[in-house]
Symmetry: C3
């Protein structure tokens, strides 16, 4: 009873947080038909600055930290990233009207990480005066990349198995050559060609193996992750404290608030896209962020009790598990699993998964940490 009341009290208090307030405000003005436009160029530079800042924070922290402390939480991040894909493979993929490749791709996107969601979580932790390890933001790639790699590998193994079964009767593996469902993407033609390249390599020895390195490379080259890694490297190898204190750190919350308005408006405008997708995706997109977050929260608690990992760090781990990728994930998946339907995994993630992660999971896990730790 005391636990529940503490938790609910905290939830209400957090909804007054400016970060969530701007998100909800964005949704409300979109619902009221506002003509407000935040230009795309502004969103790009905001994402660059947020992730460079998270990288710098992590890099500066790593420079002065005991690296052994980071091993266990980082390993848990990798584990959760891989696990999320298998959960989708054996739950979502089994549901009626859901194609297996679409489900695997969706799992990959939900296992990958959203920089904006993580930025919101770090800000809320600070607003609630909950301390966390400064290097916690650096877990991003440890969960993001394994999830995407696992999804692409699992999908290709599945497709190869299926092809072998079919290949008895037909010579060509037509399945993986079928054109990508276009969705609202401008130039779908260049992705299959990349896929051809993968297949070209993989068919060399056994015709059955997926090249993992190109997937990792592609993830690292995405705009979100390369901004974050740039910040991380600069934080470790240079002395960026002056520019960090005068620019990246003070502007962080404000830029995030602008991005929250954009994300709120976008989430509202994409609600309609969900109609095109089997309704099971909606159920998955609401439930999965909590399930993934709880798994990561549980693993984080192990690190908390064994290694002294902070409760704030546990929340960060849970939130990046809850979040689903909005920037770098989709193009990587389209290249790696060209036969999956983008409107399934992107619709599920941006219209439901991200608002649920930011608006519900962040307050939930902060409340949970305070109820347990307080």
């Amino acid at each position: 009873m005391d636990f529940v009341s503490l938790f609910l009290l905290d939830l209400v208090k957090q909804l007054q947080s400016p970060t969530l307030g701007f998100l909800i405000g964005g949704m409300v003005i979109a619902a009221l038909g506002s003509q407000l436009v935040i230009p795309e160029a502004i969103c790009q530079i905001i994402v660059f600055m947020l992730l460079t800042k998270i990288g710098l924070t992590g890099g500066i922290a790593i420079r002065t930290s005991n690296l052994t402390e980071m091993i266990l939480p980082a390993a848990f991040a990798v584990i959760v990233g891989i696990l999320v894909v298998f959960i989708a493979r054996y739950t979502l993929a089994r549901l009626p009207k859901v194609k297996t490749v679409d489900a695997i791709a969706t799992g990959g996107l939900f296992g990958a990480v959203s920089g904006s969601t993580m930025a919101a979580a770090l800000t809320l932790l600070e607003e609630q005066n909950i301390s966390y390890e400064a290097w916690a933001g650096a877990f991003y790639p440890f969960m993001d990349i394994p999830a995407l790699v696992t999804a692409i590998v699992v999908a290709n193994i599945y497709l190869n198995k299926k092809r072998r079964a079919t290949v008895q009767s037909s010579l060509e593996g037509t399945l993986s050559r079928q054109p990508v469902a276009a969705g609202d993407f401008s130039d779908p033609q260049d992705y299959p060609s990349t896929r051809q390249e993968y297949r070209g390599r993989q068919q060399a020895p056994g015709g059955n193996r997926v090249q993992i390195w190109p997937i990792i490379q592609e993830s690292l080259q995405g705009p979100a992750l390369s901004a974050m890694l740039l910040g991380l490297a600069l934080g470790i190898f240079t002395r960026p404290e002056s520019v960090y204190e005068s620019f990246y750190n003070p502007l962080f919350r404000g830029l995030l608030s602008v991005l929250m308005v954009v994300m709120g408006m976008e989430a509202w405008s994409r609600v309609g896209e969900l109609r095109k997708v089997a309704q099971w995706y909606v159920v998955y997109s609401v439930v999965a962020p909590f399930v993934h977050g709880l798994i990561a929260f549980g693993l984080g608690m192990i690190a908390h009790y064994t290694m002294g990992f902070s409760m704030g760090g546990v929340v960060v781990l849970a939130v990046i598990a809850s979040s689903s990728s909005d920037i770098s994930g989709p193009p990587t998946l389209r290249a790696g699993i060209p036969s999956a339907n983008p409107s399934a995994y992107i619709g599920a993630s941006t219209a439901v998964g991200t608002p649920v992660a930011i608006g519900l999971c962040i307050p939930f896990f902060i409340g949970l940490a305070q109820a347990i730790g307080g």
Copy 2:
């Protein structure tokens, strides 16, 4: 004599203010043929941030204010907004070569409010250490919306009367169906269609009434006003102090200075447009900001003596009355009065009205307040 010398001294001092300096600087470099370009995306985000900040300031102030203090000034704002349209109807519209609908639309635009002008006034008041009620910026919609609604209603009543007089001989009210004079707008076709919708609704019972609610809705949905109302709501219902202090408030003056350069350059480049318009518009655009401001200043003085409304607040009221809408007003008017000529009211407002309001009226009313109050 003492009053005049005080006033002139203050005027000179204010022209050294950075806010006006950047405006004049923008005009000068445009006149000298500078190739400087501030991208449109930057102007959009600056307007968003300025008006969100004004909204936040107002919202935070309202949360802790005595609401009864606001009633009288807010009522005066509504009165001035309506009055300005009738002034244009019975002065500008009576002048030679001026079409009545064009005059009413111009009155609507001059009654509506410019967020940038208001932002400049608030900054100058702070630079001069003149205190004002923090909720004064929240008067924006109280003057803006009544002015636009009144203009559209008055114009339609006028057009209906005229149509009835004509309808004896011709069956169709061709006047209101004549195509909009295109001006330099990209897609004029979508506005008349909105207008058709209005007419569809209005013709239901008596064929003579204008639907007021769609006009109000359209005003509220404009980018400037929806940013301001978003800030206002977040200021009232959430606790945005952290993001306000670290982002919106410190960046306000600087962002305004960039916008002033843009507005100075734009005002200079639009001077040529005035040739297309009857010269009476130029006379109106110079005189009207002072007349409107003086009316509001007088009403503000009543609130000053009866309710203790601050002199700074009186200046804010006068300046928003002097200002004419540059962002949200024009599209609303084009939809509501499609038969009015946009190059008349937009040219008058942006090429003359806005520079006069910022460069002359703000220093004038601040000087007046200091000469009276000091």
Copy 3:
């Protein structure tokens, strides 16, 4: 020995500076194939803000300075700007496979100044706690304009001489009418027309003189220089301290760091352009920044010993001599010397000259100043 070790120690320390770190970081992520994009609109506003800030700093300093102190260094800036062109005329132009007009144009671009490079130098001086005269940034136009004017005048004298030699046999000076080599510029047609205008004027009396005033005017109207002069004028004639302290000054380093990432990525992507150009341009582009900087450093030392010009100021003078124009110079040169090949001078400048100036010359001259002065 002590001098060399001091110098090397300082060089290593400077490579950890955030400013150079972000430049190198940008190169590295570009080399690794990052998909990161900083939108063009953001780069434009950053350049505007950096140069307005440098102008404001200079203007505020000039307002309170002894102007006679500035005369000698400013004269040296003019001398270096002119000298650089003649150096290119009598070294680069004499090398095999190098066209004389191309060499003169390249000299003009290397004599002109890069605002970003100067901004980086000022920031590094502050990071190293080396004081410099706040008006040192105002030397920009004193070197930039003479270099461009000299290059255009020298090129036209050369072309006229050559034409006279040819005119015996052919009546028309076809050389200067040959179409501009297009390079990667969108609309080359409008430049020759400006050039026609110059020729129209110059052919009036002797057919041999170049109009200097239009070249100066065109330089002053460029976006970089007009932002800087706007700041300078506002710093001298208004009181911009409030907006300077709250906006332009604190954001300076951070905005510069973003621009450094962009410049690093761009330098990397332009390396390929160098193949199109005679290899002697690469040699020139590496050596010239050091030679120009050393000449300016030497002249600066004269001012240091005679007038008490600070060592930091000497470094600023050397760095603006090392830098080559990236924004305003190229269009001015294309208009003034339409027969020169833009891919020669632009390729040499942006792919080699600018990275060498920022990444090597700035640390070199700071180290030199510290080794001499410390």
